[in-house]
Point group: C4
Chain length 319, copies 4
C-alpha cells in the first residue's frame, strides 16, 4: 500500500522527449537532460555553477557600493550579458535535441529557462531593471536536487518528501488553526491597542503601530512563529498582558507540528525498513543449527530457524 503511494507521486517520465534514433541528438539529449552518465552529471554541475554564478552577479550588482561605482556597474553588466549568452546557447541546444521542441518551450522548465536569460539579453544595453528576473534564475536552482538524487541522497530526499506528503492532512488542520488564531488575536489586539482610554502614559505617542487589522494579523504571525521583529509591539498594559498570553498560547500551538513530523518520520522510516526486511526474509529456510553468521558480532553458531542472533539480538541476514 505504501508502495502504491510512493509510485503515485512519481513525475512524468522525461523519456518521451528523447530522440528515438541514436546519434548526435540522442547523445546530446542524454548529456543535457539526463544525469545518469558521467558527462550528463558534469553538464548539470557546470550548469548549476553557472546558475549560482549568474545569481551572484545579479545579487552583487544591487549592492549600494557597486551601484555607486560606474566601472563596477559596467563590469557586472558584461558578466551578466555573458551569462545570458551562455544560457541562450544552452536553451538553443535544448531546443535542438528534444524530440518535440514546442512541447519543451511551453513546459514549466522551458518557460523558466527562457525567461532566465531573455530579459538580460534584450535589456542588456538599455535600462537596469532586469534583475527582477533573478527570481526565475533562483527557481532554476531547484535543479540541484536532480543532481543530488544521484549522489545516493535519493532515499533521504524520498523519506523527507514522503513525510511531508503524509503529513499533509495535519498540515492543513494546523494551518487552519493558526489562521483562525491569527485572525482572532489580530482583531483583538487591534481593538485593545487602539482604545483611547488604554494608554499607559497620557503623553504616549498617539498613533499605535497596530494601525489596521491586517497589520495586527501580520504582527500575530510574526509573534506566534517566535520571529518577533519588534517593529510592531504592544504599548498599552492590557495589550502587553494579552500578547504575553497569546505568545504562550501560540508557542504551545506551534510546538505541536514538531511532534507530527517526528512521529511521521519515525513511522515512514520503519515502514521502508520493514518492506526491505520482508524482501530479505522471503527466502528463509528452516532447520536445526545452521551456519549463519551474525553481521554484528560474527557469531556463526545459530539455530537454523533463528531470526535474531542469540548473542546480540541483531536480526540475522537470510540468504
Amino acid at each position: 500500500m505504501s508502495k502504491v503511494k510512493l509510485k503515485r507521486r512519481g513525475r512524468v517520465a522525461p523519456e518521451r522527449q528523447r530522440p528515438l534514433e541514436p546519434g548526435l541528438r540522442q547523445s546530446m539529449y542524454d548529456i543535457i537532460f539526463g544525469a545518469e552518465s558521467y558527462w550528463g552529471r558534469m553538464f548539470d554541475i557546470i550548469l548549476l555553477l553557472a546558475i549560482v554564478g549568474s545569481i551572484a552577479v545579479v545579487a552583487f550588482e544591487t549592492l549600494p557600493s557597486v551601484r555607486d561605482d560606474e566601472a563596477q556597474v559596467a563590469m557586472y553588466l558584461r558578466c551578466e550579458i555573458g551569462f545570458a549568452i551562455l544560457f541562450g546557447i544552452e536553451y538553443v541546444l535544448r531546443l535542438y535535441c528534444t524530440r518535440r521542441p514546442l512541447r519543451y518551450v511551453f513546459s514549466f522548465w522551458g518557460v523558466i529557462d527562457l525567461l532566465s536569460f531573455l530579459p538580460s539579453l534584450l535589456v542588456g544595453l538599455g535600462a537596469m531593471r532586469q534583475n527582477a528576473f533573478v527570481i526565475l534564475r533562483s527557481v532554476r536552482l531547484l535543479r540541484v536536487f536532480r543532481i543530488m538524487k544521484l549522489w545516493r541522497l535519493m532515499s533521504e530526499a524520498d523519506v523527507l518528501g514522503e513525510v511531508i506528503w503524509r503529513s499533509r492532512g495535519k498540515i492543513v488542520v494546523f494551518l487552519s488553526v493558526v489562521m483562525v488564531a491569527v485572525t482572532i488575536s489580530g482583531a483583538l489586539m487591534y481593538q485593545v491597542e487602539n482604545s483611547p482610554y488604554q494608554k499607559t502614559h497620557p503623553d504616549a505617542v498617539v498613533d499605535s503601530k497596530f494601525d489596521s487589522i491586517p497589520q495586527s494579523m501580520y504582527w500575530a504571525i510574526v509573534t506566534m512563529t517566535t520571529v518577533g521583529y519588534g517593529d510592531i509591539v504592544p504599548e498599552t498594559t492590557v495589550g502587553k498582558i494579552i500578547s504575553a498570553a497569546l505568545i504562550l498560547l501560540g508557542y504551545s500551538l506551534i510546538i505541536v507540528p514538531t511532534g507530527f513530523v517526528s512521529a511521521e518520520f519515525n513511522e515512514t522510516r520503519k515502514q521502508i525498513k520493514k518492506s526491505a526486511d520482508c524482501t530479505d526474509a522471503q527466502s528463509a529456510s528452516r532447520g536445526e543449527i545452521g551456519d549463519i553468521t551474525c553481521p554484528a558480532c560474527e557469531e556463526n553458531v545459530q539455530l537454523k530457524r533463528a531470526i535474531f542472533c542469540h548473542r546480540c539480538g541483531t536480526r540475522l541476514p537470510r540468504d
Copy 2:
C-alpha cells in the same frame, strides 16, 4: 479506559434541536445545521466563504489608505451592510428551523451568530466603531473545523485533540514552572536594571525600559519563548550577563514540552490504531484452536480467529 476518555470529550448532540416531523423545516435544518448531506456541506462552505469575506471587508476597512479615501469607505460600508443582512437572513432561518428557537438564541453559537451581524446592521448608518465585532466573526471561523471533519481529516483532528487533552497534566506543570521562572526573572531583572550604580556609561539614559515588575515579566515571557521583540532589552552589563543566563535556562526549559508532545503523540496514535483494528475484528468468525503460525515467533498454537499472536503480539497472516 481509553474509550471512556474519548467519549467524555464528545459534545452535546445537536440532534435535540432537529424538528421531529419531516418537511421543509427538517430539510432546512439538515442543510443549515448538518454537514452530512451534499447541500449541507455546500451551505457550510458558502457560509464559511461569506464569513471570510466579511472579515476581509472589516479588516481592509481599517487600512490607513482606505480610511483616508471617502469613496472607498462608503464602498466598504456597503459591503459590510450587505454581509450583515446576509447573516441576518441566515440567523432568521436558523431560528425558523430549530425545534426550540430560544434554546438556540441563548446557546454559545446563537449569541455569537447574533452579535456577528447585529452591530453592523444597527450602526451601519451612524458611527464607525462597529469593527470591534470582527472578533466575534473570527470566532465563527471555528466552524471551519466542522466542515473539515467530514473531509476525512477527522482522525487527524481527533488525534491532535486527544494529544492535547492527554498532555493537560504536563501542560499545567509546565506552565507553572514557566510562570514561576518568569516571576523570579522578572523581579530579578527589575532590580538589576534599576540599581543606580549599575549603569555602564555615566551618561546612559536614566530611565531603564524595565520600569515596573509586570513590564519585566512581560520581557521574561517574550525572551523565554525566543520571540525577542527587542523593545525592552537589558542595558547594564550585569543585566546582560543575567539575561544571557536566563535565555539559556529558559531555552532549555521551553524545549522540554516538545519531547512531551512527541512522545504523547506517538502513544496516542498507537492506541487509536489498535482500537481501530479492534473494530475491524468485530466481525471476525469465532472458533477454537487452529493451526496458524506466527511469522514473528513461530508459535503455532493460536485461536482460529486470532488476529494477533497471543505470544508476541505480532499480526498473524490471514489466508
Copy 3:
C-alpha cells in the same frame, strides 16, 4: 537499577521536624507543613494565593501610573504591610509547631520565609526600596509544586525530573559546546565589526554596537537561541555574511538537545511502564484456554498463557 536512581533523588524526609507527642502542635504541624490531609492542602492553597497576591501587590506598586499617584501608593503600602503581618504570623506558627525551631530558622525555606516578610514589616513606614525582596517571595512560589504533586501530577513531574536528571551529562556537553561556540563567534564578530576598512558606507556611524567582546558574546547567545532582540546587529557586509552562517550553524547546534530530551523522555517512560508491567506479570499462571478479558476489545476467550489479546494485540491484564 532505575529504582536506585529514582531513590537517590529523594529529598530529606521532613518528618524529622514533626512533634512526637500527639496534640495541638502535631496537628498544626500536619496542617502547616503537610499537604496530605484536607486542611493541610487547604492551608497550602490559601498560602499560595496569599503569596501570589502579595507578589501582585509589590509588582503593581512598581507600575509608573501607580507610583505617580499618592493615594494608590498608600493603598498598596497598606496591602503590602497586611501581607507582611500575615506571613509574620505564619512564620511564628511554623516556629511554634516544629520540633527544633532553630533548625527550621536556618534551613533554606526558613530563611526564605523570614526574608519574605521581614523587610516589608520593618521598612513599611520608611523608605520604598523593599520591593527588592519580591524575588524571595517568588521563590516561595515553588511551593506550588508540593501541592501539585498531590493532585496526581506526581508521575508527570517525576518523569520530567527524571528526564532532566538523566540528560545531565548531555546538558553539560551541550552547554560546553554552546559556550565555546559563543566565545569563538563573539570574538570573531568583535573583530569583523570593528575593522576600520569594513564599513559598507563611508558615512556609517563610527561606533559599532559590538563595542566589546563580552557584548559580542551576549549577542551570540541572543542570536543562537533565536531570541534575536535586534539591539545589537551586524552593520558591515562581512559581518552580515558571517552572522548568517553563524545563525544557521547555531540553529543546527541548538536543535540537537530537542532530540535528546525526546529520546530520553521516551526511554524513561518505557522503563517506568515496563517496571509496572513486570510487577503486574509477576503472578501469571500457565494453562490452556482461560477466562481473561481483554481490557480493550472485551474478548474473553484467550489462551491461558496468552500475553497479548489474540484479537487486538493489547497486552492482557494478569491477575
Copy 4:
C-alpha cells in the same frame, strides 16, 4: 558495518609523539599530552582554567569602561603578558617532550598553541591590536572536550558526534533547500519592497531597508530561523503579506530537521547499546542447546550460551 564507520572517525593516535625511552621526557609527555593519569588530568584542568582566564582578560580589556581607564588598561596588560609567558613556557615544554618537535610545530594544535601567546608576547609593550588573537585562544577551549571525555561523558559525546555524522546526508539536503528558499525569497522581497508603486504611505521613507539582494537574503535567513532581529522589516503591505507567508513556510521547513535528529538519535543509541552488549557477550561460555525459556515468547529451545531469544530478540534471563 556500524563498527567500520565508528572506526573511520577515529583520530590519529597521539602515541607516535611519545618518547620511547622511559624518563623525564616520557613522564612529562604523559602529563602534558595525556589525560589518563591523575597529574595529566590536573595539568589539563589547570591549562583550561588558564585559557578561560586569559580569554576573560582579553574580553574584559575591550569593555568601554576599562578602555577609558589608564590604570585598568595597564593592569589588564600585565595579566595579559603574564598569561602569554605562561603559555610560552607550556609551548617550550611541549616542544621539549615530544619525540619530533617539528612535527608538533606544524601540526594544527602546534600552530594554534604558538599563535595564542606569541602576538601578546611580542606586541605586549607596543600597540593594542593583539586581541585579534583571542579567537585562537577560544579555539584552544576545544581542549575541554578531551578532559570531559575522561569523565565518563565519552559515550554521550560519541553518540552526539555519531548522530551528526549520520545525519550529514540529510543536513546537506536540508541546507540546499534552505539556501534555495533563501535565494528565492530574498530576490522576491527585494523586488517587492523596491517597487515605487508599493509604498503604503506616500510620505514613507524613500529608501527601503531591502537595499540589495544579498541584504534581502540576510533578512531571509534571519527570518526563517526565527531569529528576527527587526533591523530589516518589510514596509509595504504586499511585502508584509509575502513575508508572513514566507515565515509560515520557512518555519515549517525549519522544523523538519528536529524530526531527523530525534529519529537518528534514537536509532544510533539503540545500535551503540547493541554493540556494547556484544562486547559484554564476548566472554560468554560456548555450549550447545540448553533449556532456557524466553520470558517474552516462551520458546525453550535456545542455545545454552544464548543471551537473546533467537525467535523474538528478547534478552534471556541468566541464572
